[in-house]
Homo-oligomer: 418 residues x 3
């Protein structure tokens, strides 16, 4: 940490202590290598991370890989149909086992010396071992995994934090969306040259939407806030809520966010790192698409298009917006103090056929545009924050309450014992 | 600092203390990250830096941007026709405001949340602020600016050093060149993989010119030195001086450097970081061009082509060679211990038309070649200096007196209190 | 060193002390910048390094250059026909003298200010020096050089370690190969994104050959080990040894490795960093080529194709496999904690003509494939070793005895006094 103290520990404590409430963080939090290492240790290697979707690995032996900072991880569906997470690192001499992003294996065979693990991670073959070598001590290192209605979570810590509360809250809302019966229509990977926290801060407010996301604001109400929800807008959202109420009740759904502005998340004080809600779209929109029209067959349990949008978010690395016909997952992975790898995944009903039931040129633009507009914003912000003249600025209490909540959550996480 | 002490402060003091007079600097000065940070703090964020030309932003609202290390800066012409400098960093959450290299704005609007500043940097609009928010406290951070006859200087320090002496010396010589009534004919940007000091040391001697700059030495006398100014050469420069004397006197100009070798600059002891002089060209040359012929209409106050060359240089980042018909500005910006961004700009009379009054293929080669030859030299030197076997070598007292002066100026600057 | 102590010295001692015998090294040894610096200081700047072949610079004035970490080195044949090594750094201001990979010079002239050195490195001309300047103090800095039958070695240390034992052992075996009368048929340069020790560990076992090097195992016996040398294989190698015995004895050659598995090297305890041996190829192979057939004229003293393979290796940066008709040299140079530059050079008889006496498409594939397969392995291993979940794993005593020997040799080298 160039500009502060000698030990990262001392430096970060000092920086945390002098944070001015309601203001953005100091530069080092977004730019400094030592603080990035603290983020990796205390947040990314401790909490629950979204990894991917169960539908990406439907059959035993299917796998996909990801990299959390420099930790390569493998998710594999076992013979018992369970999804397991492993460090993608051979116990022999540390080679990466699966170099591909995804694939199908009968056994996990290290390409270096063919140490062979079964789909549950147990070492089953290694030529040349010393006599009496105990294979049971050399299975692949596991990472904890959990599933919520088709969403796979991992935790790299030995003792993971509680998952139950997230499970309870998210499962109920996610279930009708049918992610367990979905398929991936498209994945786009991005390298965003910005600290992962800038990406989250961008996600936690719609103050920037008016000018930056023209397509987004045509479909949604959340860019309106306490200061600019006019009587006309108020009437419109009330009408949209009423419109949905009867239909949704019939379908067993409920609007859980029925006002303008974003639902409050996270809750730093109660360590709430997960949330979900269903909220109406504007009149004439049944899907988050460029013209609001449905672009793919209904997903999940829906029998009706007009179900608003379901939104799920879990810290530190996931959000999803889903409509009646498709869902879009965004996954962040940190790759350096000023580099975040982002994957955006479009999901549709598992039986939908591209070209017949849906067209990518109709499915993708809404969230591809919104995503890419945001990445550009984040990269521009990073360049400004890197300035020696940057000083923390004030959040709007009407529009950036969630950014402040995110910052408070973040500071609480990194203040924990090492 | 790998090879010396633990604190950059201690290390640099030790390195300064053991510098052998008349010898080049030790490797760390050219290669080490910690010393580079000291250079940025004590030189680049304290002194006057050349930013650009007034003619680049002729109308109110015109701006251009630059980056000093990681500090993005904006130069804007205001409604009152004054040029102002700002940190290109929004006071809200630190986003870069203008991402383009240059443009025209009626107001400076941050693309993130549309915080809006007028052309004088005052915050005039920000939606969503808390009640009682005092906009006057959130104007853009200013950087000091000065103009000398069309050259714009900035200073990032709160308390800039005196500018008056530079103003006095440079204005008188620069005035007849007419940079205030010029236009940019061409700009070329370079990334030179060398420490900024190597670039300056290269600039401060013409010892290397004989072999490296064949076109340059055909036009000039400064590569001759005390040891190789033959009687023939001495006669030539005397003739050139006499040739100019009468004409120049009529035009109110004066040759201020009338001998071979380079004029002495900088003056470390008296902290002279600026200098200018007019000197004759060789017989047959009226412009620094490949064949010595005029390649564009006369600039400024000149009514006669044979005015020699005007040369201006200011530390740490500017030099300019101007002839009767064009001027060439070189601007350095540091971007890392071994990376310097260089911009070379060709200026001609504001009314000159490309293709009609001048051709780029005639205008550019002399200084494009000279520049690119030098960048290659600097990059080759950086590679050698990086060697663990490199040790400082002796400067020639006849040919490298200015390199030694530069090094002494540099050491004085970085020895100042932090 | 991020994860351990504050001084690299303390950190490496701690890491060395806790190394578990028979296990691979901890992550920092392969990934950390501070340990890489220790490797450079204690191994690369102290020991004998393979530089290239005498046949690359047959005439006085021929030179080639290489870079050991950031130290540029020049090898030049002098007027007295001796090969000398120099730091490729001008004594004046540190410029690289020869920027090209290889060439021919009458004198070594620095391109910056034409300081001129003769082919023995003596400074013979420098314009502009102060009166009384003693040129003899400013010759090029020498690096020690030695030759073994056409192989050039350098040492960057002031006091090189003994070379005699290596000379004795290697010269006898290398002589009949005729490297002194060879020519370079092809050179390929690689940038391998792996620590140099991973490249060596890969080289020190053939445990990985079965699956990764199909072409290699068809020609050789060394991938068989104590645990998998079947009676059939044992018979084959015995037959191959017998086949060679008479012929070789006639030619004054001897098989010095006549069993399956790799010859033991290095010997950490006795600091044996060099070794060579001749070993038979499988029935039907007279050369390490795709089909085992001879692909170029016989080299050196051979009058018979069936001479097995000669193998030479010297730590930390060289190995060579040679057949009757060609030799292949591999040279490693460290360029960062996770970057190794590798050059593979194919040698044939000096009078062999490409297209007539040999075809590159026959000559190259065997070792080009084997090399590139290995680089991919090493890069995959580096990615896995970078994981925070990587922990040292056990070496096979049957198959990886030489990897363990290499690691012990390495630890001994870096444990030496600074």
């Amino acid at each position: 940490m160039k500009t502060t103290a000698h030990s990262p520990q001392g430096a970060i404590s000092e920086l945390i202590a002098r944070r001015k409430a309601g203001f953005s963080l100091e530069r080092d939090f977004y730019a400094d290598e030592a603080i990035y290492r603290v983020d990796v240790e205390r947040i990314w290697r401790r909490g629950w991370l979204f990894a991917g979707h169960t539908c990406e690995i439907p059959r035993p032996g299917d796998y996909f890989s990801l990299e959390v900072d420099t930790d390569p991880i493998l998710l594999v569906r076992g013979d018992d149909d369970q999804v397991r997470g492993f460090h993608n690192v051979c116990r022999h001499r540390g080679s990466l086992i699966c170099a591909e992003a995804a694939g199908q294996v009968s056994r996990l065979v290290c390409p270096y010396h063919q140490w062979t693990y079964d789909r549950s991670g147990a070492l089953v073959a290694c030529r040349g071992a010393v006599e009496g070598f105990d294979k049971t001590q050399f299975g692949l290192r596991r990472v904890h995994t959990r599933e919520i209605e088709g969403l796979i979570y991992i935790c790299l810590a030995e003792e993971p934090p509680s998952f139950g509360p997230a499970q309870d809250v998210l499962a109920a809302l996610a279930k009708p969306q049918g992610f367990t019966r979905a398929k991936v229509a498209k994945t786009i990977d991005y390298e965003v040259r910005a600290n992962w926290k800038l990406v989250w801060e961008n996600n936690r407010e719609c103050y920037h939407c008016n000018v930056n996301h023209p397509q987004y604001i045509r479909a949604n109400f959340d860019h309106y806030n306490a200061d600019d929800t006019s009587p006309r807008v108020q009437k419109e959202i009330e009408a949209a809520v009423r419109r949905g109420e009867q239909k949704w009740a019939e379908a067993g759904l409920a609007a859980t966010h029925t006002q303008t502005g974003m639902t409050r998340f996270p809750d730093a004080e109660n360590n709430v790192w997960f949330s979900a809600n269903r909220t109406p779209l504007v009149e004439g929109y049944v899907s988050e698409t460029m013209d609001g029209k449905q672009v793919a067959p209904l997903m999940g349990d829906y029998s009706e298009a007009d179900v608003g949008t379901l939104r799920i978010r879990t810290l530190p690395n996931f959000w999803n917006h889903s409509s009646c016909d498709h869902g879009v997952s965004t996954r962040l992975l940190p790759a350096g103090p000023q580099l975040t790898r982002v994957r955006v995944t479009w999901l549709v009903h598992q039986e939908a056929l591209e070209g017949k039931d849906y067209q990518l040129e109709k499915l993708l633009p809404f969230w591809q545009l919104t995503s890419e507009q945001d990445w550009e914003i984040c990269e521009r912000q990073q360049r400004g924050v890197n300035s020696s003249a940057y000083t923390p600025g004030p959040y709007s209490p009407f529009k950036e309450y969630n950014v402040d909540s995110f910052v408070r959550w973040y500071l609480k996480m990194v203040s924990r014992e090492a």
